[in-house]
Symmetry: C2
Amino acid sequence: MYDMTITLQADSKKCLYEQIYEYIRDEIREGKLLAGERLPSTRALAENLQVARSTVDYAYEQLLSEGYIEAKPYRGYFVCKVEELLRLQGAGVGASDAMQAAPVGQESGQALKGKSKPEYDFDFYPNGIDMSGFPFGVWQKITRNVLSFDNNELFALGKPQGDEDLRATIGRYLHASRGVNCTPDQIIVGAGNDYLLMLLEKILGRHVRVAMENPSYKRAYRIFCSFAYHIERVGMDEHGMSVSDLEKSGASVAYVMPSHQYPTGTVMPIGRRMELLKWAGAKEERYLIEDDYDSEFRYRGKPIPSLQASDTMDKVIYIGTFSKSIAPAIRVSYMVLPKKLLEVYKQNCFFYSSTVSRIDQRILNEFISQGYFERYLNKARKIYKEKHDLLVEQLKPFLKEFRLYGDRAGLHVLLTSKEGIDETQLIERAANHGVKVYPMSDAYLGPEEDGRPETNTVILGYAGLKLEEIEAGIARLKKAWLD
Amino acid sequence: MYDMTITLQADSKKCLYEQIYEYIRDEIREGKLLAGERLPSTRALAENLQVARSTVDYAYEQLLSEGYIEAKPYRGYFVCKVEELLRLQGAGVGASDAMQAAPVGQESGQALKGKSKPEYDFDFYPNGIDMSGFPFGVWQKITRNVLSFDNNELFALGKPQGDEDLRATIGRYLHASRGVNCTPDQIIVGAGNDYLLMLLEKILGRHVRVAMENPSYKRAYRIFCSFAYHIERVGMDEHGMSVSDLEKSGASVAYVMPSHQYPTGTVMPIGRRMELLKWAGAKEERYLIEDDYDSEFRYRGKPIPSLQASDTMDKVIYIGTFSKSIAPAIRVSYMVLPKKLLEVYKQNCFFYSSTVSRIDQRILNEFISQGYFERYLNKARKIYKEKHDLLVEQLKPFLKEFRLYGDRAGLHVLLTSKEGIDETQLIERAANHGVKVYPMSDAYLGPEEDGRPETNTVILGYAGLKLEEIEAGIARLKKAWLD
């Protein structure tokens, strides 16, 4: 029988049983203890090592449970036949080094955009927001209340579609503010639009021909590409997606942003909406995805009703988010399904558990139903309108050489050089003056290999900048582009 | 020109401009105002209605922006040609009724399971948990601190993979407690395992032949089914998935739970793990998905290292969650990708934004890195072990007629009738005594139409029950099954 001489270190931070366990394990791994070999009895080894027998028992127990050794009744412990053990050498090692090395997760494109880079003094980032009006205190208070009573039920897994209260609240909000017609049962709460689109893939099926305006929201395009979806780039006029082109495209689903198209800012007039709905109504498999991403922010007239509000044929899939209206960090979006698709969801997707913590759902529900959301929105609107108006005012001197548009709503505007100066040149000149503006070409769809289309348009977001920054930034752009 | 006589109600809760806007809109919708017809000038209408001109301006502005009317320079406002307007009649109506009707969202199967139903006094629900040891106060305190400084950056959209701090913390935790070898860069944080599997579909591709043990975790099965995945049901012996059957199945990916298979409780010995790793290493496209769903809870020896810890060939996709160890409501799971797949992720999936709010990520990171998680786990382990030991103790009288297994770890045990009493009968008899136990057949894979396999085994979860409830519940089962 194999004679085991283990030198135990009393001072080691590893307890004795661990040292014994690891010693024997390594002996087996390194092939010094061979399959079938018998181990000393726990009593023998305990005496031999001058440790409590229970210590050895514990070590053997561990080796047993991991399958290094087996116990044969009345005969003792034997080393198992473990295949490929030699391959193991070095496994489990190097990890800690790896942990030290700990390379920083590479930032993805859109994550990078998230913050302005040092070399820029002013970043007109289109997806910035201004949280200065956000009632952190209230959010805290609500959070505290929600957490204060330790409520097992609240910590249990919620309904896949989201909690009823929140869905009812969202339903009321959407009906009041966007004219959306739905029952809470049609609403699915999810952790962001990207997730909801993934879920929608499971509902609409795998091989959908989806039409998108061009330019459009690039992330949605990338997501559809990552599905088996075939994407039809459909042209748009000043009213939005061209329905005749849509008809020609053979698409069965159209993704649109009727209230405020990104990036062009086009607001789809009721006539075009009707044409779209008529198109969708003409065939059973046809649907419209309405991405109502920033409809909360409008500076003239009241918000335009949603396309879904005009849908009498159960054809509009309505998607909206609190990431824009509250904060990107709030990963809560909602999707309103037509009744037909709701059935499909309940058939095929009921087992996907909710992606939003119930605590967050409860907090959000309180925030909205207690009227804080409304108040915050009004505050945010005021803040954004002030910035918007200042920006538009400051841009007046540009209007001889630039066309300004997309300024009726949303949190960005577009500037097109009338003299046809290329966007890259505009961006470069701005950069030389420490100002970051964004290329329209980013929003054009199509495989990267196609390269960027030529545009003379840049996008300026203003939500994330302070008033004085907007003023100073535009002053720089004046130097960069007009002098 | 169309003569407009609008009767305005000063007492209406609708402001004047809205009344004017809606009147004209409806006139157009109902075809009383025809395309091309000219509207009165804002001045004329303002005088006519005895309202401020700005009120009319505002109403027209709204009609313009919604596309009901158009403004022709120097000529005035004209009704647009709006297709299909008559279809619109009734649109936007019925909503409020619908909102009142507000049918309750149908509960999905697994959501239903979430709570015990009234007719049961004791519910041995396998996915229950015990939050009694949870430091709500600490969680609150951390939340308060995280929210206290209004931190724009925290409210901005985070990295798609999750925040670096949290990933580093998870990496350290996984290395220390599970022997997982990875860099934070390999970790993807997501809102639940279901979501991470959806993401994995985008990484592994659409047509994967995936092998699952049978019985196995039914939700994972359903999710794979909802993909284009072809599922191979592979038999298992007392060591877990049969590698020879796996080889025969032609699968390229195997989904396993080596530390504690659900529902059988099998702990895969190192030998079988090596065989699996060898299988995976044999072909480039092969991978192992390790679902380490409840490894935190073990009652003998220290936790078994993960399969990933033994992986020297970059073949294991490791998935774990805090939903089990902290609370189902905490929708935070993590996936450790092999480096090869990480590249694919960065190529094809970088644009999927994170599904976990940064606030929650920050709170969780503080909770773990300040040592509270460790402490809570130890507390929870103690609580669960006490329940586990009591349950096993109470079940002793059953051992003549039942085989007890799956009791080394996890939060449930299995009982098999030696006399071959069918599970349905066992469940029925238990139900007659007000006790809910769960059928093993639920965990068997295969299309519903195949019907349930015959089993003589029931599943008893105990995490969600109080000690006295366990005692009382088992006493009832004794009456139900033994007397």
